[in-house]
């Protein structure tokens, strides 16, 4: 097995085998990242391909300081953002005011009540703008100001989109939760 350092070095020399190794090692993790930003797996795989192209041809830019995985993840997120911008005009645009933030819903969840697949599905069904902001803020941990810059939107828009996204997700999870509880009651 090659270490990350070896892989990086070989990839910098455009070694085809090392590229394959890098892909085999990290494609699953990065597809997990991509899927959060996509509407379905096919789109996520497109983003994944673009991400790996960027990674292969720009691997020299990885400074060596900081985690390699973090760098890979960042490339994937940036690619997803580029993808989002590129496809913005083709997406079905959902009117934002359809969902009015109601803070009275459930505010806490048990970690293992929902499966990852279910959470992915909830994200995939989200309007693209909500999904971007929610992922960047809640999962990637960017600040609203950074998100605003990345997406080319206003800081306040990022904030309001986030809170609306939360409301939608909460709503969806609640429905899903009820559905699941009714199953378990029937069991």
């Amino acid at each position: 097995m090659m270490s990350d350092l070896q892989i990086i070095e070989l990839c910098a020399k455009h070694d085809r085998k090392a590229q394959q190794v890098l892909y085999d090692k990290y494609s699953r993790l990065l597809l997990g990242v991509c899927l959060r930003y996509a509407t379905d797996k096919a789109e996520a795989e497109d983003i994944l391909q673009d991400s790996f192209l960027k990674i292969f041809f720009n691997i020299k830019e990885y400074s060596g300081s900081g985690s390699f995985i973090g760098w890979l993840r960042k490339v994937a997120v940036n690619t997803a953002i580029t993808h989002y911008h590129k496809n913005l005009k083709y997406r079905y645009h959902v009117e934002i005011d359809e969902y009015i933030s109601v803070e009275t819903g459930v505010t806490s969840f048990e970690e293992d009540f929902f499966t990852s697949d279910e959470l992915f599905k909830v994200l995939n069904e989200l309007p693209a703008g909500y999904r971007m902001v929610f992922n960047l803020y809640a999962v990637e941990g960017y600040k609203h100001k950074e998100i605003a810059e990345m997406l080319g939107i206003d800081t306040n828009t990022s904030k309001s989109q986030y809170s609306r996204a939360k409301a939608v997700i909460r709503d969806k999870l609640e429905k899903l939760g009820k559905l699941k509880s009714s199953y378990s009651e029937n069991d």
Partner: protein, 444 residues
């Protein structure tokens, strides 16, 4: 639901569950990716591997070598031309004797194809050293190339005229000295590429023949027709086998001049007629004379003319260019000032801001709520908008296209309902427009 885990909030839920979630990609993704990598790798400049840059270099050097070889050939022809012609004439002269013997009655060449031959001074050099027969070297006095040129550029564009303007050196020689000495009679020998030439085999005794046209082509017909695609000087050779088994050779030169290319652009891009002075940018190549037609009955012969139209209209602008050799090309731009990209359209409903009059100034960004009645437009110069109530009372007027109607009249929000609008003005190309319609004022 009896998990021991503590309850967490939404953000934590997603970041914990999904931050490091792994999804297995389809197997095809890897293959697809590697194909894309290979493609990109090929396009990347890489000194260690053969890629497109090297292909490019090879291609360019190949073309360069080919050009070099080609031009080298041309040059050597040019430098040796007098030598070659001398030898040609020598053999021709020999043949002349033979033909003369067989056809004593023939006095002059067949002139049906010769339209006009300008008399040129001839320099006759006779009695070259160590020649035993009656050999004559004929050279035109001036430079051979210049000699072949028509002295004026023809007025008409038709190729016919170019083709019929026969000033072949051969024919000059024919008329000037001993015409029968040539077996070849090209219908034309100077013209513009692509040039079609009809050749006549004038040998009296004829069994079989072979023509080689100097561009790699050949024919076994008696009187072949040949099209020269590329500019250049071609030495056409005719080998004739006579009935009594003799082998005769004769040659002629065909000069094909490059055709010029007419090309121009009109500025400004979106001209306002009749106000703007139009500038015609000339990108023609190989051309020395230009004939412009601006489409309004006027024209020009300057290289890059400027023109002001007297009124709005869609004009066809044409340019005909001529080369030094009288070859021509033309370009016509139809409807050069067509206003198809100019338009003005109005919506049929809007929702005024109930909070109070906005003033009516709008931008596409700020008026996403359609609070101001305004047009979508392009290339509008003059503009006047009027809004009438159903009773026909004018309640709004604007001559600034950036100022729309905010739905208020004298500070009061107008009643919901249908209003009539009328707009008149001019597009940038000078074309006037008048439009009318109705718009429904909706309540917020």
């Amino acid at each position: 639901m009896k998990t021991k885990r503590q309850n967490i909030n939404l953000r934590e839920l997603f970041s914990r569950k999904l931050e490091n979630a792994e999804i297995i990609p389809e197997a095809s993704v890897s293959a697809k990716l590697m194909r894309r990598v290979a493609r990109k790798e090929f396009l990347r400049f890489n000194p260690a591997k053969l890629n497109i840059y090297y292909l490019g270099v090879i291609l360019i050097s190949g073309i360069g070598t080919a050009l070099l070889l080609f031009s080298g050939q041309g040059n050597s022809d040019h430098f040796n031309s007098s030598g070659i012609s001398a030898s040609i004439y020598r053999t021709d002269t020999v043949k002349y004797i033979e033909i003369q013997a067989k056809q004593p009655d023939r006095k002059s060449p067949d002139k049906s194809n010769v339209i006009q031959i300008e008399p040129k001074k001839m320099l006759i050099v006779s009695n070259l050293p160590d020649t035993s027969g009656p050999k004559v070297l004929i050279k035109t006095e001036s430079n051979k190339g210049v000699d072949l040129l028509p002295t004026t550029i023809p007025n008409s564009l038709s190729n016919k005229r170019l083709f019929s303007e026969v000033t072949s050196e051969m024919q000059k020689l024919q008329s000037g000295s001993k015409p029968e000495s040539f077996l070849i009679d090209p219908f034309v020998s100077v013209g513009c590429a692509p040039m079609k030439v009809k050749f006549y085999n004038k040998s009296a005794s004829y069994d079989s023949c072979r023509w080689t046209f100097g561009d790699g082509g050949y024919s076994n017909k008696r009187d072949p027709e040949w099209i020269f695609d590329l500019a250049g000087e071609y030495k056409v050779v005719l080998n004739v086998q006579t009935n009594d088994g003799k082998l005769l050779t004769s040659s002629a030169t065909v000069t094909v001049h490059p055709r010029p290319q007419a090309h121009f652009e009109i500025t400004p891009d979106k001209a306002v007629l009749p106000n703007d002075e139009i500038h015609f940018m000339n990108y023609s190549t190989n051309a020395v004379q230009f004939r412009w037609n601006f489409g309004d009955g006027t024209g020009s012969e300057s290289f890059e003319p400027r023109h002001t139209y007297s009124k709005f209209g869609n004009y066809n602008v044409s340019l005909v260019v001529f080369s030094d050799w009288g070859c021509s090309d033309s370009l016509v731009v139809l409807n050069a000032f067509s206003g198809s990209e100019y338009f003005i359209d109005f919506p049929n409903a809007f929702i005024p801001n109930a909070q109070g009059p906005s003033g009516g100034y709008y931008s596409y960004k700020s008026d996403e709520g359609a609070q101001v009645f305004h047009p979508s437009y392009s290339g509008v110069n003059d503009y006047q908008l009027k809004i009438f109530s159903k009773l026909g009372i004018a309640i709004f007027e604007s001559s600034d296209i950036n100022l729309g109607w905010d739905g208020y009249n004298k500070g009061q929000l107008c009643d919901p309902g249908v209003y009539i609008w009328k707009v008149r003005g001019k597009f940038r190309n000078g074309e006037p427009f008048i439009k009318m319609g109705d718009v429904t004022l909706l309540k917020n």
